[in-house]
């Protein structure tokens, strides 16, 4: 059975693994998951474990009523592999998330499905 790229991505996440694709032809990483390399058009993209370190490219605090859970963060993260993804930086107040901040990925589970979230990397480098 050939899984769609999205099904493969989600299955890895559900198993606790954060994987992205890599193009064997042009050697670039690819995200979001897809069938063809958007840079060179090659197929046969390979799944590799993401290193998990990244930098906040942009961030927004979404206003939500307190009884609905309060404000939360939505961010765009540039992974060190050179791809960008939407996610959320947790473990810090939403408005304290800053562009340029180093962040570390982890796989969380919500409603039984794997989900990549980030937390700030503490000064000194160790997460």
């Amino acid at each position: 059975m050939h899984l769609s790229a999205h099904s493969h991505y989600q299955a890895e996440l559900d198993a606790g693994r954060f994987c992205i694709q890599h193009c064997p032809q042009c050697q670039r990483h690819v995200f979001t998951p897809r069938e063809l390399c958007p840079h060179c058009g090659a197929s046969g993209l390979r799944w590799v474990r993401a290193g998990g370190l990244g930098t906040v490219y942009s961030t927004s605090t979404i206003a939500r009523k307190v009884d609905a859970g309060g404000n939360y963060n939505v961010a765009l993260i540039d992974l060190d592999e050179g791809v960008r993804m939407m996610s959320r930086v947790e473990g810090v107040a939403p408005e304290a998330v800053a562009m340029g901040q180093r962040v570390q990925a982890h796989v969380a589970h919500k409603d039984g499905r794997g989900l990549v979230l980030f937390t700030p990397v503490r000064e000194g480098g160790a997460p």
């Binding site: 942009s58 979404i62 765009l76 960008r84 993804m85 562009m99």
Partner: protein, 402 residues
């Protein structure tokens, strides 16, 4: 991160032969603001009827149709049925709010080739009054048109996407909240001179900054309206338009560019595909931003106006904030922008592009009442769709600009 794409199209060479060969001969709006009891089709048909009459034609003269809908994916069919027409040219391209501007160039080719003689570009949405409104539509689209790499993080779309772009623009260029607010305040000042505009109360920078937060850095006053409204234009070959009652508004240039769908896949949040569509539309027209008497740009959010003024070449990248500061785009400012009040204060029924076109037509014809510009020879009209996804630019002009 990712590189900004570049296009190899030489628009000056490929599209220049169409420059000024087609004109907007009729234009009309209907039911802008709040139209309780109306539905999408009713608003569209009423606007279409008025635009066709404005062109001095009858509905039976219409043999080309370009239209699309936020909700119905096969929208051309019920529209043809309702209008009772039998078009030999049909375009249902749906790329969000820029669609009706992107409908121009293919229609020009069809008219020039003789495939049809009069193209109706039309839209209607009862988004504000309809029982099946924006909320239900967004929920349904999550199933019909999923974005599985964004939805789990609960971005409130579209506003979160634009908030991320605004935050990045502020970070990179030092753009301020006050400068963003200037865009909303200028739009309101124009709206106060437009009887058709939905919101006409006075608005100050302080009002925008202290309004209810939505997605930082944007407040509710940085966001477009949710209104009802219909809009339509009629395109004919320029030689025919000259025999029709209204002064022709010539299409001098048009180009469309799409680089991404999701905001997370946008190569650079501070440079939009308007840089490409704008350059190609201006190349086709043989004109530059500096030659424009006005800019009607798709202001779904205040950041849009800054991005598009930069990408279309009215100022350098990053200088949009300074450009709009101190009433720069308000009445009496350095450039007339969104003279109807825009999507922020005039009308925004789901998709705004057709209304930007219609305002340019009204200004170029000298029909804009108390907000009429003294110089009205040329206009750039820019449409945006999705979340900074599709971009379409048109350059329009009067006979003087040919």
């Amino acid at each position: 991160m990712s590189r900004v794409p570049s296009s190899h199209l030489d628009a000056a060479a490929v599209n220049r032969p169409l420059r000024g060969r087609v004109a907007i001969a009729g234009a009309a709006t209907y039911g802008c603001g709040e139209s309780p009891g109306m539905d999408d089709m009713t608003l569209l048909v009423r606007a279409a009827q008025a635009a066709v009459a404005d062109a001095g034609l009858t509905m039976q003269d219409i043999d080309g149709l370009a239209t699309c809908s936020v909700n119905a994916s096969m929208w051309t069919m019920p529209v043809i049925e309702h209008l009772g027409i039998n078009p030999t040219y049909v375009d249902g391209t749906m790329i969000g709010g820029s669609s009706f501007i992107a409908h121009l160039l293919p229609a020009m080719r069809a008219l020039e080739a003789g495939q049809c003689k009069a193209v109706l570009v039309c839209y209607g949405s009862a988004q504000r009054s309809a029982s099946f409104g924006r909320k239900e539509s967004v929920a349904a689209r999550r199933f019909m048109d999923p974005q599985p790499y964004e939805t789990p993080y609960e971005p409130v779309l579209p506003v979160t996407a634009y908030a991320l772009a605004a935050a990045r623009h502020m970070h990179e260029f030092g753009t301020t909240r006050t400068q963003l607010a200037e865009v909303a305040v200028a739009a309101r000042a124009w709206a106060q001179m437009n009887p058709e505009a939905f919101m006409r109360d006075p608005l100050t920078i302080e009002d925008v900054l202290s309004a209810r937060p939505i997605a930082s850095p944007l407040t509710v006053r940085d966001c477009c309206l949710v209104t009802d409204g219909g809009g339509a234009i009629v395109l004919t070959r320029a030689d025919r338009a000259r025999d029709l009652p209204k002064p022709p508004v010539y299409v001098l240039g048009n180009a469309t560019a799409i680089w991404n769908r999701q905001i997370s896949c946008m190569p650079d949040l501070t440079t939009t595909a308007a840089a490409q569509s704008g350059a190609q539309a201006f190349a086709m027209a043989g004109l530059r931003a500096a030659d424009m008497d006005m800019a009607q740009v798709y202001d779904a959010f205040t950041i849009n106006t800054l991005l598009f003024l930069e990408d279309l070449g009215f100022c350098a990248k990053g200088e949009g904030g300074a450009f709009v500061q101190g009433g720069g785009i308000a009445p009496g400012g350095r450039l007339a922008v969104n003279t109807n009040g825009g999507g922020l204060s005039c009308v925004h029924p789901g998709m705004y592009g057709i209304f930007a076109l219609i305002e340019a037509v009204r200004q170029l014809r000298g029909e804009a009442g108390t907000r009429q510009l003294g110089h009205h020879r040329t206009a750039v009209v820019h449409g945006n769709g999705g979340t900074l996804s599709s971009q379409s630019t048109a350059v329009l002009g009067t006979a003087e600009a040919l």
